[in-house]
Symmetry: D2
Subunit: 339 residues, 4 copies
């Protein structure tokens, strides 16, 4: 069998995650080259997974004619340009989220994808999570009837440093972007209007830096359904990731994953496991599954499961939410994009 | 023992509920008189619970010097005036919700309560529910730290007739009023601002009548916490009543009550009980408990657990929500009351 | 309506339970007379529930021509003779368990019931529990296919005093008798053979008194299914009452009832409610339901839901278990009865 | 780093499982040689995991001086002799269960392990399962106080062919052996006495072949606790694997793993996931963990987590159970071994 040849740009945490998935779980592909501006990082990743080549320059990947697909795992500001270069060089692209903070740039990426005809998948891994996917399946197969309400709870176990928060672009684009995508995924619809609240209750320094750490955002979907997302940058009990889809025929919701199903009953109460704490523990299987489906879309020449539209609309919603918070009013999505 | 003597105005469903609680579960009190404009209804209730006197005229209760307390279970428009008359006649009052749709009228009731010094309790029974009360206890005892997010899901099993919906004053005051009160109860705080969405997805005739049947309302509490309530007039699986309080130290949430704890595992799946369908089945114990505490507050001369402030603020929030929906913007509570 | 007239023999805890059920929840019947050898106990019960007559002599009940049915709630050794006297006097009888420790005496009771044609119900209240009944329903309606395994866990929250244990007849007849009946109820079959283990781990004084406080008993049912019961006289976390029925098409099991459905998630874990501690709290509704069905069987002249066969076979199994423990071997039921 | 060199004898299902664990999840070791009497099976496994050498003869492994440890994954009758040969050749051994059906042979294996001082681990993978291990942890850390009752439910999703059942040595040694080991693991004690029931309810051909397919076995542990195991060769709802440990301070129990935490609420009920069906899906992580700990015991020269005592006593209990069934009486373990 000829394995698909993969290059990875960016040898940070997520680059390592994808290298692990491909090396251990996806026999149809192999990573043949990795780059990182910190060459030592690239070297380490290469050594860890037995990857034959590494360098500091991602152009070594772009220019390698033996490479079929590129995983763009570099810092956010570089996502778009590297993706464009890779597609122009004839390579399929898996691009981490967010694609870019400029909508024009995202549109350019979309245009290049369309012109080159290369596969382009965006890294919304949560769509591949065993729990959330099972909720989506109930929407898809009609078990819930017409979708009417979508609810998403998404709380990080621990807040980021105030410095990170300040440089992250803010909660809506740094954290809630996943939930915006999940909301559209579960409702099977784009969004018409956004109303955002937000406040700083977790760490006053986050508020001083102009960001929020606790937020509730209401969505009106184009298909008529309503939605709500709540975020907190801190949950004392672990990483809280729950979704609910309610429709004319019923409701599907998931619970957090714990390390075991054990319940301990004593005079103190009946105690079960806390939600898993670390996002890689919680979502590792979803990262593997998104990669598997990306590879399968290339090999079988089918549509990628998460295209550039998702990459674009999630950023649009983050911008609409920020505008709603700033102007203290509901904001039409068309004010941000496509109006 | 001298039992407290109770008169009940209104022999409908809720009048019967309170009569049953007192007769069977509260040995410190007894119902001695009941009235209903439909005298036959009063007669039936009296007979059912062995109550010695009944009539069509509630003034028979007001004027009965042997009566210590009056339960006002008549139609909403009459709540305030009957409560006022009863207090002026020296009787303690338990008044069903909503007290009135006019804030001035509610303030008048409050004034009379203050002037006469009589006990006045408002019928927010859900505060006495075993599940919701346990969540509140976690807020009160500090287990959750500072409250940051309150979430309430409240969905009726079946929609009312369009005629009822049209005459009910609308979803926010007819249905969500319970949830507004619950939100303030769980957050232990009044509300600063309200943003309401609402749409008609359940029955188009409800929309044609100018009301909504599906709604999400965001709250900003005075203490800085955020809240969200979702309502639907129909849930295919039963009466869905769940609350969640999230704070700096943790989270408490409840689940619906079913008829049993049984799980049946077959090739078709692992099937558990649906939520109880009928509100009287789900909340009967809470009705008894609110009455028990009302009687106790009189007997021991302590403060009632749900005073007129709750009666007032729940209506204020309903009005703010309606205004928010109509004007499509967040509405400060001070625009409605106390500004 | 002519209410059914009830006499209660024995004004202890269980007599009070039945008086409460009838007075408050069963409008078709009323208690008109109560007796207790301690007349003061009879007086108190009568006063509490507004019962017009009481005395120390149960013959006052037997001889009262106005009484339709007698509830035999006196100490175990008197159950049989009072039941016999009542039936011979033309009254229906509800008899608490165990009917007697002598099988001959139980057979005599059965014979009198048959000869007089009076209703005779035995007090196995757990058959009427909302959870266990739902498991049984799955057996009855065929959802589980052919029953193959029955499992019952039954653990008291706290051990009795060693004195009580010594005088109780032992764990198998005092405590496990409920579970023997439940096993036959769930398997829908009598038992062929019993193998009993038992030991004293909870309180050494129970062991010194010749009894066991921890026990596992294996059953072979006549219909071919297998069963197992585990008992402990103490569970630190509350009253543990769970059953499971496993068959060719699936499995139904129940969980304990707690005071609420609340889960509290903190850094310490996800904590839910303990099982309810006190048997009257856990099983009160089942006592009411068994009484309701007893009254209904009289009023509608239908078969009682728990007849003398259950009263007999439960004692037979207790004796078989004791013999098995003593002789350290499996014991055929036919060695005890009907061989 | 010098990786530990592993040879695998037997390229069947379990050989593949261990090869996968080592190749993908245990960087401290690598498989360098595999053998299988069907050489084609060895070749396939070698190719799949990039193993450099394979052959039909396990002596190629035994004689390879570069190999540090041997995994004995061949058919049961060969386990003991291959283990002995490997240890005598200076290699550590991981031996699948059961070690042998002859107790003398198992003792010989133990003797060789003792004489050679090589590590010898037995393949009771369930001890490493995330759920069962968490129950055991509660026993170990004293949360449950003194252990009094152990309960194990273990039901396969589908029965084996009657041919397999006939040749398997019977349910007690083929299936319940895992549960015997788990019982001793959870009770932290050997067993004193066994009483076995068993019948054929699932497939009459299994009964005709002299085996049982449904069984309940009661255990008396040396430490005074009681235990019970129930087995069925078929569960319509999936692979049912649950354990419970009950002690003086409380109880710990686990639930089955499903594919997601999703619950779907419709008019038909509240439906959750069935237990995972296939044992490799359910227990894959435990196979990896047992291998990780085997490798770690070698690398760090510590005691293996599951030694030959477990391999011996599990077979002893299976024999005691069979004798108990055949002779229809409780059987002392000392009748089988060590008496």
């Amino acid at each position: 069998m000829n394995k698909l040849k993969i290059g990875i740009v960016g040898a940070g945490r997520i680059g390592n995650v994808h290298a692990e998935s491909i090396t251990y779980h996806i026999p149809e592909a192999e990573v043949v080259r990795v780059s990182d501006v910190v060459e030592e990082s690239a070297r380490k990743l290469a050594e860890k997974f037995g990857i034959p080549a590494y360098s500091a320059d991602y152009m070594d990947i772009i220019n390698d004619p033996g490479i079929d697909a590129v995983l763009v795992c570099s810092p956010t500001p570089t996502h778009a340009d590297i993706s464009i270069a890779a597609m122009k060089a004839g390579k399929h692209v898996f691009c981490e989220k967010p694609v870019h903070t400029s909508l024009e740039k995202i549109e350019e990426v979309a245009r290049v994808a369309s012109e080159t005809g290369k596969k382009l998948q965006i890294g919304f891994n949560r769509r591949f999570d065993h729990n959330h996917r099972a909720v989506r399946r109930m929407v898809e197969n009609g078990s819930l009837g017409r979708v009417e309400i979508i609810k998403i709870t998404s709380r990080d176990p621990e807040p980021p440093s105030p410095e990170y928060a300040a440089s992250s672009g803010g909660l809506y684009i740094d954290m809630m972007i996943h939930d915006f995508d999940m909301a559209m995924f579960l409702a099977d619809s784009d969004v018409e209007e956004v109303y955002a609240t937000g406040t700083s209750l977790v760490d006053p320094r986050i508020g001083e830096a102009g960001d929020v750490d606790t937020a509730i955002v209401t969505l009106t979907f184009k298909n008529g359904a309503l939605g709500v997302i709540d975020n907190s940058r801190r949950a004392a009990y672990g990483y809280d990731q729950r979704v609910e889809a309610f429709g004319s025929l019923g409701m599907a919701c998931d619970e957090n994953d714990g390390d075991s199903t054990v319940k301990v009953s004593t005079a103190a109460g009946v105690v079960g496991e806390k939600p898993q704490f670390f996002f890689l523990e919680r979502y590792m299987a979803s990262f593997t599954e998104e990669m598997r489906q990306f590879i399968a879309a290339i090999v079988q020449d089918t549509e990628v499961p998460v295209g550039i539209h998702a990459g674009l609309m999630s950023v649009v919603l983050a911008k609409a939410a920020k505008k709603s918070l700033d102007e203290h009013r509901p904001v039409k999505v068309s004010e941000i994009y496509g109006g």
